[in-house]
Symmetry: C2
Subunit: 199 residues, 2 copies
C-alpha cells in the first residue's frame, strides 16, 4: 500500500474496522471526508459520539432508546398483549418495516451459546418473565434467528414461559419469498415442508 | 422506515451521506458503532476531525500532506526530472500501487469543465509552470482521467507546456488487462487500436 499522510492513514484504518468496509472503500470514504467541509466532518464525528453518549436501553424491553421508555413501549396504540422477542435491537428494524406487527418487543441482547459460554443469565430474560408476571401478555412470539443459537434460545424460552400461562409461538421458517426452491438448502426445504399449511 | 432513537437516526443519516453507503449499510454501520466501545467511537470521531484539521496541501505539488512538503516531494530518491500530473490526490494512490513510477507528482485538484464553469484559473496549473521554469523537469506525464474533462485538460496542458521546452506525454488508453474486448466500448477499442505498438 502506498504511504498516506498519518491522519489520512489513521482514518482509513478506522473506517476499515467497520463491517463490510475494505481497503478501497475505506480510502474512498476517507478522501470524501477530506474533501467535505469542516462542518460536515464535525457533524459526522459528533453523531458517532452521541450514539454512544445519548442512547441507553429501554427500562421495559431493552431496546435502544434515548429516554427511559423506547418508542414502542411508550406508544399507547401498541398492543400490550403480544410481545415479540428478538436477539438484537436491529432485528426490530426488520420487523417494523413490514408494518404488520402492532405489539410490543423484548430484546434479549444475544442468544444462548454454551460453546461461547453464553448461558441464560447472560441474556435479558429475567425482565421478560417479570413482564409476563404482570398478567397483560397473552402471546410471546419468539423471533430469534433461525440459527443453532437462536433455535436453542427459542426452545429454552418455550419451556420457561409456557408454565406461566402464555402462548409461545415461533416465526415460520421456509423458502424466502421471490426466491427459488432450487437455491434453498435442505434444512430450509425440510422446515418449509414441515411448516406447510392447507390452502 | 421505522423510527430510530434520534442520535441513532442522525448517525445513520450522516453515514448515508458518504459515497456508496445506502440505507441498509448505514444502519449496519451505525449499529456497529453503537455496540463498539466508547473508546473506539472516540478514535473514529477524532480521526474524522484530524483529517480536516491536520492535513494541508504540499507547497510544491498540492498533494495532501501533514507537513510543508509531501512524502514524494521530500524524498531525495525520487526522480525530479519526470512529473506525473493527476486530477486529484487519490489518483496518486493508484499510480503508486504499481511501484513502477519513481518520479514526482503534480495535483491539479480538478479538470477543465467549461460547462461547470471550471477554467484554467480554477486549477493548480500556475505552480506547475513555475516548477518547469526552474529547469529540472524534462518530461510531464499527463495522467488526467480518460473523460471529456480530463482529455480537454490534457490538450490544454500540452499546448501550454510544450513551448516551455519539456516533453509532454499522455498515459495510454486501451483495453484493461484481464478484460475481454467483447466488453469494451467502441471508444475504448478505437483508442486501443490507435495506440497499438509493434511487437
Amino acid at each position: 500500500m502506498p504511504d498516506f499522510a498519518e491522519p489520512l492513514a489513521r482514518l482509513i484504518t478506522e473506517f476499515k474496522r467497520l463491517p463490510g468496509i475494505g481497503q478501497k472503500s475505506a480510502q474512498r470514504l476517507a478522501f470524501h471526508v477530506l474533501r467535505a467541509s469542516r462542518d460536515d466532518a464535525e457533524h459526522l464525528a459528533q453523531a458517532v459520539l452521541d450514539v454512544k453518549d445519548k442512547l441507553g436501553l429501554c427500562r421495559v424491553c431493552n431496546n435502544i432508546s434515548d429516554s427511559e421508555l423506547c418508542q414502542y413501549c411508550s406508544d399507547p396504540n401498541r398492543d400490550g398483549q403480544v410481545v415479540c422477542v428478538v436477539e438484537e435491537p436491529h432485528n426490530i428494524v426488520g420487523i417494523e418495516t413490514t408494518r404488520q406487527f402492532t405489539g410490543r418487543y423484548h430484546v434479549l441482547h444475544g442468544a444462548l451459546s454454551p460453546l461461547r459460554g453464553i448461558g441464560p443469565d447472560a441474556l435479558k430474560i429475567k425482565g421478560l418473565v417479570e413482564r409476563i408476571g404482570q398478567g397483560e401478555i397473552q402471546e410471546v412470539i419468539v423471533a430469534t434467528n433461525p440459527t443453532v443459537e437462536g433455535e436453542a434460545t427459542a426452545v429454552y424460552l418455550a419451556r420457561l414461559l409456557k408454565p406461566l400461562g402464555v402462548k409461545v409461538t415461533r416465526i415460520a421458517m421456509g423458502i424466502p419469498v421471490g426466491s427459488d426452491i432450487e437455491f434453498a438448502d435442505e434444512v430450509t426445504i425440510s422446515k418449509a415442508m414441515e411448516g406447510r399449511r392447507e390452502m
